[in-house]
Symmetry: C2
Subunit: 337 residues, 2 copies
DNA sequence: ACTTGGCACTCGGGAACACAGAGTGCTAGG
DNA sequence: CCTAGCACTCTGTGTTCCCGAGTGCCAAGT
């Protein structure tokens, strides 16, 4: 059905269209790529490709433009992920290495990715549920208020002010802290609920109301923060590009955590570091845009996802290369800290 | 020079232009506002206003449009800040009251403000230098690494992983923590550097290298975080509006902390809660936009600034009302926590 | 001295139109 | 199966034309 030359034509169309942003005609194709055949032949192939739904013409007598299906074929079979230049690699490395804490890592990553791809970059904060508890801290603020600080192995810190049902001395708080830590240290967050359920029994009766209050807040914190935080950068790169969907819609989506999360998609458990590419209408929440995403995290413990969002007409090989490279470097950085 | 009627004409022009987004002509003015004079008279006044530079016409034979100078006069003398409806007030209150921590307060505030004004909202995180230390925590991660956690009275938490020059037992870390806390608790952050300078003298000699490492990181944290964090929301509201400057420039500015900071401007020390309005060219960093900002914070202790950014053609009375109201509510919330 | 009606003038923007250019589909011949 | 040629179909652009909104100015009115 689709012989090698037709595929070559499709590849040429995608490449030309991506770089020029104009429908590409048979004559231009014959010139720019040495396909060794005449425009007329190419026209025949184009007709076939259009028949199959890989390309389309905006209007009669204009060049052809790839369809979503065309891009899909291109990504799956016609292109190779383009590795970054060594200069870019070095730049990434030094830029990410300068990060001082988790917030900083995420911020730098998202900016880096935006700048590298000239698209909108999206980075999800490392997931709480797959982290482990490193430390629980109770800081007395007054005799009836304490601040709960939860530190995870990824360097993430959660904090919450707790109003106590009764005045409590600092020493009792200190004791509670010791108990909590001995109980929770190193545990996966998802296992916390069951671990604390039998905790009150190990405390003197007088401490139980206070402990209950604190524990309920602790659990609440874990559950609430389960909807992860997501940041983006590079919105300015949207200014030039045109989407089939309005610019306003894209900007709105970017500010909706939930939509962003869905756009990034899920990491498939068996191949966590695989690149996900969603093209145009394949993308249920924001048609007219493409998303290139991947999981990142240290080793086989995938923590979260990152990726970029751009117009369907994007340079997939380069974008995929950048996303993959950044994901690797940030994983590396996270593993080291 | 400018009698009452001319001012009334200017006010009418601003109001009409803001609501219709079209140059306003003498006839329309005479009809819509009951100025009790004929279009011809209004034309004369308009000519005078144009002579003085308050209005201008996009091209010969179109209506008039306010200039930056015209908006300035309008804001200063012709308009009154419009208070929010009680429904809006309630909405603000309940929305902000649901915040669980400082991050949440800031996030909710910026979204609220964006939605309320239909502009881009910008909120600066409370300034570190004016906060006080609530607690310093050292969490051993391994025998050569500790995590430093700094908690301020505004609920802000700073964290940093520290590599130690030598292996250190947990008990020594605990001792260090106790010393640090006894020394720093309740101090203003700006006074920390001098307080810690004589600290090593109070420690056994063997602890000094470790202490020095930790202290240098602590100081570094304080200094680095001195450039404050800023967030924005409501970029989608830019989609409709048109600026004299390109949309791309605005989006780029929004992602540049430094520019944002400058846009928000400084709080004048004597009237911290005063509204700052910068109109168009008055605004040095992003001409073609207007910024309405104010300080916020509990009581006379101004912490930071918030505001909105929009096209010069904005509804100043309403915007100013919203900014002022939100600043008050968030100050209240912060004072309570 | 200010206001008002009248009038000529100026432009921007939309409609109608023609036209060049790019690109196509088709057919006949190599 | 490829190629050359040809007629056809569009879009985008430039031109022209005209309408209407709005102005500036002047002379008359209060």
């Amino acid at each position: 059905m689709l012989d090698d030359r037709k595929l070559a034509v499709l590849r040429a169309i995608v490449e030309d269209y991506v770089s020029t942003n104009e429908p590409v005609g048979s004559k231009a194709l014959a010139e720019r790529h040495n396909l060794k055949v005449s425009p007329a032949t190419i026209r025949n192939d184009m007709a076939a490709l259009e028949e199959e739904g890989y390309i389309t013409q905006p209007h009669t007598s204009a060049g052809r433009v790839p369809t979503d299906k065309g891009y899909r074929l291109f990504v799956d079979r016609l292109s190779q992920i383009k590795p970054l230049s060594s200069a870019e690699r070095r730049a990434i490395e030094t830029f990410l290495a300068g990060a001082v804490d988790l917030d900083d890592v995420v911020t730098r990553t998202v900016r880096l990715l935006a700048q590298l791809t000239r698209q909108v970059a999206v980075v999800q904060y490392p997931t709480l549920t797959r982290s482990t508890v490193r430390h629980v801290e109770l800081v007395p603020l007054s005799d009836r208020r304490v601040m709960l600080v939860l530190i995870t192995n990824t360097g993430r810190v959660e904090q919450r002010v707790i109003e106590l049902p009764e005045a409590v001395e600092d020493t009792r708080i200190a004791h509670l802290r010791a108990v909590l830590n001995s109980c929770l240290d190193g545990c996966g967050l998802s296992s916390v609920p069951e671990l604390v359920s039998d905790l009150p029994g190990r405390l003197p009766a007088e401490d139980r109301p206070v402990a209950a209050t604190i524990l309920s807040v602790l659990l609440e914190t874990l559950v609430e923060r389960h909807d992860e935080k997501i940041v983006f950068a590079g919105a300015a790169n949207l200014a030039g590009a045109d989407f089939s969907v309005g610019l306003r819609d894209v900007l709105e989506a970017l500010e909706e955590q939930v939509v962003l999360m869905r756009l990034l998609g899920d990491t498939s458990p068996d191949t966590p570091s695989a690149l996900t590419v969603r093209i145009g209408s394949e993308n249920p929440y924001l048609r007219g845009t493409s998303v290139v995403a991947t999981g990142y995290g240290s080793g086989d413990n995938q923590l979260a996802r990152l990726g970029v969002l751009g117009p369907t007409r994007m340079d997939y090989p380069v974008t995929m290369g950048a996303v993959r490279a950044v994901a690797r470097y940030v994983s590396q950085i996270l593993a080291a800290s």
